[in-house]
């Protein structure tokens, strides 16, 4: 007979909770008209164009696009193109002043400073605080600080909604470690020692594998460098290069030592895919790279190490312990004429539900903390829970993996060439100083314009 005790307040609370849960499923046009609350159907009938980079995030949006259209009544044209081409396309179209898209996924670690300086993005700050535009269910406050920092320009304006973060983690082959009776390394020195012990080129086993290819290798280097508690530039405005400091040179020496001693021959030309190939064939004992590689490594049709992969935090350096991160978000061009509809799409893509799905498939880690702690979400993980736990462990020790500057690609090419030269036997101090001197005028010029 407990229902007799049901007070009016409790009944209202329950109804409100139910309503909150059901809101996305209901057509709430009338509710909005009466109360001015958030309404997914407010911009019904509009159509928007979205550009995304090929990858798990785009796959997910494509798969659930119908759901968005039903929820909002907005039709969404989706163009999915490979990363490099997508960045070229968005840059050139934004520069033309008449982009053909209303929403695109921005790679913060490459494009942040560029879009900011060119003032290409629409300022959504006011909308994020407007309950009519951003529902409470979006849990804006759950967005992690690094994500919010990425989405916020140096003038304090928020010009995108953070979607995913990519940390660096250590993948290790449990079988190979067990054979030599070793534990996963906790520090860079331990990692070097373990790599040397595990390295067995005669039997085709590499102790360690990591990016050596120019440009791609810079992010591995910045991961090592974070162990000295340092980034590649200062946080000043304009930023100053820090790639020739004693710590930067020490990190470069470590890079050289590890990759020339315990990595396979030809590592100079390895991007992540060559590393991945070797690791998934069970031919590399350790691999330090982005967190996105768990799904293929745990896929029986592609990998020979299914169930044998260990996931660990990147080893700590002599001075600090960090995991470098990169990330992406959803941004609206200032020139778009359908900003409101595009904003709803951005909310949907970066919201709790879609980012939880992204986590479950291993397609990326949300720039949020709630999905990583949500047992219901974690229960449906398609990859080992150890991976998600490691990703959650990376968050508190995260540090940006690339400098927030305009010529990021040129930076990566210049420093990357120096790192490649190290693998060919060049001296760390000489190369880092030369590359820094070479890049300095380019950076200075990019900050003047």
């Amino acid at each position: 007979m407990s229902h007799r005790n049901l007070s009016r307040r409790r009944a209202l609370k329950g109804a409100a909770a139910l309503g909150g849960l059901a809101a996305p499923m209901l057509n709430t046009v009338t509710t909005f008209a009466q109360s001015g609350a958030f309404n997914w159907q407010r911009f019904k009938g509009q159509s928007i164009e979205v550009v995304m980079e090929t990858g798990p995030r785009a796959d997910l949006v494509k798969k659930h696009a119908k759901e968005f259209e039903q929820l909002t009544g907005i039709s969404m044209g989706l163009e999915i193109i490979p990363e490099q081409q997508a960045r070229q396309k968005t840059t050139i179209e934004l520069n033309s002043g008449k982009p053909a898209f209303d929403l695109f996924n921005i790679a913060y670690h490459v494009q942040k400073r560029q879009v900011e300086k060119a003032k290409w993005l629409f300022d959504v700050t006011a909308w994020t605080r407007d309950p009519q535009m951003t529902p409470a269910a979006y849990e804006f406050a759950d967005i992690s600080k690094p994500g919010l920092d990425y989405a916020t320009q140096s003038d304090g304006k928020i010009t995108s909604l953070p979607m995913f973060v990519d940390y660096f983690m250590l993948y290790w082959n449990k079988e190979l470690f067990a054979k030599k009776n070793l534990a996963p390394p906790k520090t860079l020195d331990e990692m070097f020692d373990a790599a040397v012990k595990l390295n067995d080129p005669d039997n085709g086993i590499a102790g360690y594998v990591g990016r050596g290819l120019r440009n791609a290798n810079v992010v591995l280097y910045t991961q090592y460098l974070s162990g000295w508690g340092q980034q590649t530039t200062t946080k000043d405005n304009p930023p100053q290069l820090l790639t020739d400091t004693p710590d930067a040179i020490a990190a470069a020496e470590y890079y050289k030592k590890l990759l020339t001693t315990a990595a396979p021959k030809g590592v100079t030309g390895f991007n992540w895919n060559e590393c991945q190939g070797l690791f998934m064939q069970g031919r590399a004992a350790m691999w330090l790279d982005g967190i996105g590689f768990a799904p293929p490594a745990e896929d029986k049709t592609k990998s020979r190490v299914v169930g044998k992969v260990g996931y660990a935090l990147p080893p700590a350096g002599p001075k600090a312990h960090h995991s470098v991160f990169f990330g992406g978000g959803a941004a609206i061009p200032a020139a778009s004429s359908k900003k409101e509809a595009a904003y709803l799409a951005a909310l949907w893509m970066t919201g709790r539900q879609m980012t939880s799905r992204m986590l479950q498939t291993g397609g990326g880690v949300p720039f949020r903390s709630a999905p990583l702690k949500d047992n219901e979400v974690l229960a449906q993980l398609t990859i080992p829970r150890e991976w998600a736990e490691t990703a959650a462990g990376c968050a508190p020790i995260s540090m940006p993996g690339l400098p927030v500057i305009v010529p990021v690609t040129q930076f990566r090419d210049t420093i990357g060439t120096a790192l490649t030269n190290l693998l060919g036997g060049a001296d760390a101090a000489t190369e880092m100083k030369r590359a820094t001197a070479e890049f300095k005028p380019i950076l200075e010029k990019s900050e003047q314009g």
């Binding site: 030809g266 100079t268 030309g269 190939g277 031919r283 490649t420 314009g449």
Partner: protein, 302 residues
């Protein structure tokens, strides 16, 4: 007399003009297309090369500064060297091998048609797809090439993964792709050769080598020069294979002008610098074409 001549000449010219005038209108479509697609982009490129122009920033006129910077840019100068190294190998080797295979396939033997078809297959494949396959074959640990080397007891190579071997390895792909092309041209040449000189040579007791060197080679030379011109243009243009297989790396060891240009234009968004590179590249190509045309004149059948 003279006056009469002049007036007669002018009259004739006038009537010529009148006759031509209706036809002049037919030039317009071609002229418009040429101006829009060739002349205007060229003038615009030259103008861009005189500006400091970075996508996303303001443009400023800087005169020849882009060119002056290029003259001291280590990467640019090295890329010219790589371009020549790559081009020489990627022209010469397919020419030699293409000629050899043409000589083989010119002989009559069982299944010649089938083997000819098989041999020209690589040419029909998409360069990007081919490059992806070769990238996997080049892999120093997992690739099939090192496995093949190990079968014959040779030490493994690092192929495109080491500075010293990257360009020769890329040339290997070019050879595989383009030798059949040279072969087809030379086969066409061989088929057109007269029989009499060979009959005369046989009567005179000439050896196979003498017949090749004194009859076949000079007669086929004009075809070889055509093949060389087309191959040179193709090799200078080569981009997909280099970009897909090794991105111009390791480091910048296989960065040709094309790859450098791509980086400047589409990775660094330096439109001004990239335009200057294009202009220099164009000058190089024009100079090379002149040399090749001169060679073609020389090689004509006397």
């Amino acid at each position: 007399m003279a006056g009469v001549d002049i007036s007669a000449g002018t009259a004739a010219r006038r009537s010529d003009d009148r006759r031509l005038r209706p036809y002049l209108a037919f030039i317009w479509p071609a002229l418009v297309v040429c101006t829009a697609l060739i002349i205007f982009p060229w003038l615009f490129t030259i103008w861009m090369s005189l500006n400091d122009w970075h996508i996303g920033s303001a443009r400023t006129f800087i005169g020849l500064e882009n060119y002056i910077k290029l003259a001291t840019d280590r990467r640019f100068l090295e890329s010219i060297g790589h371009t020549f190294y790559f081009t020489v190998l990627a022209v010469f080797l397919p020419l030699v091998l293409g000629t050899l295979s043409a000589l083989v396939f010119h002989k009559k033997f069982r299944g010649r048609g089938f083997f000819r078809t098989l041999f020209i297959m690589p040419m029909m494949a998409t360069p990007v797809a081919v490059s992806l396959v070769w990238t996997m074959m080049f892999h120093p640990q997992l690739g099939v090439l090192n496995y093949l080397l190990s079968l014959v007891g040779l030490p493994p190579s690092q192929w495109v993964f080491a500075t010293g071997t990257v360009i020769p390895s890329l040339v290997l792909v070019e050879i595989w792709l383009w030798t059949p092309f040279v072969m087809i041209i030379v086969l066409g040449g061989l088929a057109s050769l007269p029989n009499e000189p060979y009959e005369a040579a046989l009567i005179d007791g000439a050896s196979q080598w003498q017949m090749f060197w004194n009859i076949t080679y000079p007669l086929v030379l004009p075809f070889l020069v055509v093949a060389m011109i087309i191959r040179t243009i193709d090799a200078l243009k080569a981009f997909e294979t280099i970009w897909v297989i090794c991105n111009g790396g390791p480091g910048t060891a296989s960065e040709t002008l094309n790859v450098y240009l791509y980086a400047q234009a589409f990775a660094y968004n330096q439109v001004g610098t990239a335009s200057a590179v294009v202009v220099v590249f164009f000058a190089i190509i024009v100079a090379l074409s002149l040399v090749l045309l001169w060679a073609r004149q020389k090689a004509k059948w006397a």
